[in-house]
């Protein structure tokens, strides 16, 4: 029995049907494939007005940009005088080899090709009499304009961010990496969504084996759809039972390119305004864009501060609970006295207070995220300030716990990756519980479990704790905890197994 009823037998997986539409490339088959689709349109045309030279034009309304279809396809069909003199077969050849004004015109030989081209926004020009067709890509490019990366702001860095169109995103990368070594390989993922996923890497710099593994896994992803980041990460990564992310998602094309230069492999999926980088390591998730743009000494200090904040957010509530409940000797007398005074009329235990406040913090954050911008801020202010101070005044929680939880929460916001911060928040709750149950012994045990968990994670063969616990036997060069000036970092990270380690003279 499951929790809510009988466990279901998932049954045997059904094999992927290849080809999906198995039939002759005819107008009837195309119409059958798109039956009950209100947006599927077709038009019958006679070349040069000759009814013997009938052709059919198919397209999906909304996916096709009408102006392009008119200018690139319909205008030459109507105005080319040569079409009047040629037979249908010759017309087909002429249109395929330059008669149409499209950048790319591809002959379609199977029904599958034609159907999926239509779904991609192309029009299909079918010659029923000779059972041939041409695919003319005239897809609409209606999409969100390239805007600022709202989730990853940086003062001295580029202000463009990835959008939902994979091709726009690859162009943003191309504009920065004007190198013929930049390879963009495409895999189509999802039986129903048929999402194009681009694998980007610099040939000769990225590890070929990692690229191959990524491609193999994408090809093996036999799912209904890949609509969001979770799908890619959960199907691509080695370990699923972890709250920590293994692919770094970034909105910033400059950051994406910098990591491609370091030897990482990038993924861009159509419909997801984020570029993914792999393999993910702890240092990658704790690096911010300003580490590269700021003065290196300033960046080094901020980087150390960020790691300090990570430890603070993880351990502060746990250490507070452990100290108050089990090890009061750790607290200086004035602090112990003020904690006692503050807790005098509070009816709840310290562990209950801390855990409840940590959970409330999450609830306020979640509520703030779900609501539109201004309303979200109002909820945060109401939850954090009004309810928090009212709870302290009403002696429902002690101010010390509130300060500890708020400090830990704010320290958590210094983590650049929100995905990583999510994992840290989950472990913070566990550490606090361990501190409340077993004191410092519990915190130490839970801390050791956390280190063990992180040490057990690998992403495409690269240990997650690189470069702190593994660096392919080499000294760390470059930016981990301490950022070094770029002229001193002459090698790419050893852990990425780059074929070309040297990155400068």
């Amino acid at each position: 029995m499951g929790i809510f009823g009988r466990r279901r037998d998932p049954g045997r997986p059904h094999p992927r049907r290849e080809p999906v539409f198995d039939g002759p490339l005819t107008a009837e088959e195309l119409e059958r494939a798109f039956r009950h689709c209100a947006d599927f349109k077709s038009r019958t045309l006679c070349l040069a007005g000759d009814p013997r030279k009938e052709v059919r034009l198919f397209g999906v309304e909304g996916m096709v940009r009408t102006e392009r279809c008119n200018d690139y396809v319909l205008r030459p069909l109507a105005q080319d005088p040569a079409l009047a003199e040629l037979d249908l077969e010759a017309c087909y050849r002429r249109l395929a080899t330059g008669g149409l004004y499209n950048f790319a015109v591809t002959p379609a030989t199977t029904l599958d090709q034609a159907v999926f081209a239509l779904l991609d926004g192309a029009v299909v020009l079918l010659f029923p009499a000779i059972r041939k067709a041409l695919i003319c890509p005239v897809a609409t490019e209606e999409k969100r304009a390239v805007s600022e990366p709202g989730d990853e702001p940086a003062v001295k860095a580029a202000k463009d961010a990835f959008v939902e169109s994979a091709r726009t995103n690859t162009s943003l990368v191309r504009r920065r990496l004007r190198s013929v070594s930049l390879r963009i390989q495409e895999e189509v993922v999802g039986r129903q969504t048929r999402t194009p996923v681009e694998v980007l890497y610099l040939e000769g710099i990225a590890d070929g084996e990692t690229v191959e593994r990524v491609r193999r896994r994408l090809a093996a992803m036999d799912v209904d759809g890949a609509l969001d980041a979770g799908h890619l990460e959960q199907y691509l990564c080695d370990q699923l039972v972890t709250p920590f992310p293994q692919l770094l998602g970034t909105q910033r094309p400059d950051r994406f390119c910098a990591n491609l230069l370091a030897g990482r492999v990038g993924l861009i999926a159509d419909g997801i305004p984020i570029g993914f980088l792999l393999p993910g390591t702890v240092a990658l998730f704790l690096a911010a864009e300003q580490d590269r743009t700021d003065n290196w000494l300033v960046a080094r200090c901020l980087s150390v501060l960020r790691y300090g904040a990570l430890l603070l957010t993880l351990f502060l509530p746990a250490l507070y609970v452990a100290a108050v409940l089990f090890h009061p000797e750790m607290l200086p007398l004035p602090l112990a006295r003020s904690i006692i005074a503050a807790k005098a009329d509070v009816p709840f235990g310290t562990l209950f207070e801390a855990v409840t406040l940590l959970l409330s913090f999450e609830v306020i954050q979640e509520a703030g995220l779900r609501l539109p911008g201004n309303l979200g801020q109002t909820v945060s202010i109401l939850g954090g300030l009004v309810v928090g101070s009212a709870a302290v005044e009403a002696k429902i929680v002690s101010p010390a716990v509130l300060i500890v939880v708020a400090t830990a929460g704010i320290a958590g916001y210094t983590i650049p990756s929100q995905d990583f911060a999510g994992g840290v928040r989950l472990w913070r709750l566990g550490l606090t519980l361990a501190g409340g149950v077993e004191g410092l012994l519990g915190v130490s045990l839970a801390g050791a479990m956390l280190v063990g968990h992180l040490a057990g994670l690998t992403c495409f063969g690269v240990p997650y704790l690189t470069p702190f616990a593994a660096q392919a036997g080499e000294q760390v060069e470059g930016h981990a905890l301490f950022r070094t000036p770029f002229p001193w970092v002459k090698l790419r990270p050893a852990s990425l197994h780059s074929r070309n380690r040297r990155n400068q003279r």
Partner: protein, 183 residues
């Protein structure tokens, strides 16, 4: 494997015998007075919700007497924040210092004083003793060694100089310094 690990951790938690105690359920002892060389009479001054309370307990030695302290008050008496250790004339300095250091809970930062008579009487008769002694150290320049310093000097040099206190009008006063030899 994971199940075993979790079971192991739970067993460890259960067997450790630890149980947290809220700070509000604890009275922090701030000054300890020791009289006698064995049996020992211990006088503890604590502050519970702003009220000064004095506890007396006897034991075979300082360690056992401190164990006995725990059950005296309505709340648990903790010697984790003892700031001053006052020894009466009859107290065995070496034994007391060693036991306090080994016992560890009192903290090594507690300063060591001598009473010009019974430590218990001095502690009981002086209101706000702990704060006054602190003020004497910080403002009047009285040199009172910490527990660790006193024991270290005693072990190294065989003697240690300690400030001597007398009670005058319900308040402790410095009556000079006395060099005490160790055993």
């Amino acid at each position: 494997m994971r199940g075993r690990l979790a079971a192991g951790v739970l067993c460890l938690a259960a067997l450790s015998g630890c149980a947290g105690r809220e700070l509000t359920d604890v009275t922090l002892i701030q000054a300890l007075g020791v009289d006698g060389a064995g049996p020992v009479e211990l006088t503890a001054v604590g502050e519970d919700e702003g009220e000064r309370t004095v506890y007396r307990v006897r034991g075979e030695n300082v360690t056992l007497a401190q164990e006995g302290l725990k059950d005296l008050g309505e709340t648990r008496l903790e010697v984790t924040h003892v700031a001053q250790l006052v020894l009466g004339r009859s107290a065995d300095l070496t034994d007391t210092l060693w036991r306090e250091v080994i016992h560890r809970k009192s903290g090594y930062g507690a300063t060591v004083w001598l009473a010009d008579g019974e430590a218990g009487a001095l502690l009981e008769g002086s209101a706000d003793l702990s704060r006054r002694l602190k003020a004497m150290e910080e403002n009047a320049g009285v040199r009172a060694p910490t527990l660790m310093e006193a024991l270290s000097t005693l072990t190294r040099e065989g003697q240690v100089e300690l400030p001597v206190l007398t009670a005058a009008d319900g308040a402790p006063e410095l009556a000079g310094y006395r060099t005490v030899k160790g055993r």
